[in-house]
């Protein structure tokens, strides 16, 4: 898939750990891992909204389109 999820980059910028984000979002660590590793097929707007709120960023900071 050409959509890259730059969650690790944003977590590093905000100096936040994955564990913290999991607790804020209310998703399982396994699901966060699926998101980080690019295995996710889709993301709900509610999840994207919660991520942007937690990391104080824009959707474009998390999602990147890269031509393969």
């Amino acid at each position: 898939m050409a959509i890259i999820v730059n969650l690790d980059v944003m977590l590093a910028k905000r100096k936040m750990q994955s564990k913290e984000l999991v607790e804020i979002l209310g998703i399982t660590p396994a699901n966060l891992s699926i998101l980080k590793t690019g295995k996710a097929k889709a993301i709900r707007f509610t999840t994207l909204d919660a991520i942007c709120e937690a990391l104080k960023c824009q959707p474009g900071d998390i999602l990147e389109y890269r031509i393969e």
């Binding site: 998101l35 996710a40 097929k41 999840t47």
Partner: protein, 181 residues
């Protein structure tokens, strides 16, 4: 949610009832066929009950040997066992439904296999009847061999293929849903 579970259990019970009726019918018929064949072998003469082919032998003047009858009877019994096989595959699906494992690839495969078994029975009996017709040199029309039973099993067979495709699609949608965060 409780209402949905109740509805699903009702559906499951209905499916199980149909399945049990099918099993009883199939086993009953198989026992009849086996009894007929056993009498044929024991007395080496035609039993009083008519042969179970759909071919009309009423005005037949050709002599059909007992050995020929035996071969056709055995062929019929082997083909009939495909119904038992098809029902066994359906039993696997009921077990998975009972365990609430609805969208699994095993269910799709089981439906496909049962569909193949039912079609094998339907076309198998038709081929045997045509062969018997040719052997007995009777001037029946082949279209007269297309009984309700045959058509029902052809329809049910293709219905199983349809269900298999639906459940396969269901598995894909479920996987996609699980990977939606």
């Amino acid at each position: 949610m409780k209402k949905n579970t109740k509805k699903m259990d009702k559906g499951m019970n209905a499916f199980l009832t149909i399945y049990m009726v099918g099993i009883i019918f199939a086993i009953g018929k198989l026992i009849d066929y086996l009894q007929w064949t056993f009498q044929l072998i024991k007395n080496w003469n035609l039993p009083n009950e008519p042969f179970f082919s759909k071919v009309n032998l009423v005005n037949n003047t050709t002599d059909i040997s007992i050995a020929a009858y035996l071969i056709f009877a055995i062929a019929y019994i082997i083909v009939f066992c495909f119904i038992i096989l098809g029902l066994y595959q359906l039993n696997e699906t009921t077990q998975l439904f009972a365990d609430k494992k609805i969208f699994q690839s095993e269910i799709s495969l089981a439906f496909k296999r049962s569909g193949k078994s039912f079609l094998a029975f339907a076309f198998g009996t038709l081929i045997i009847d045509i062969a018997f017709l040719a052997w007995a040199s009777i001037s029946n029309r082949i279209i007269d061999l297309l009984s309700t039973e045959l058509l029902v099993f052809i329809i049910v067979g293709y219905l199983m293929f349809f269900l298999s495709d639906i459940f396969k699609e269901g598995v894909n949608i479920k996987e996609e849903n699980e990977l939606t965060i």
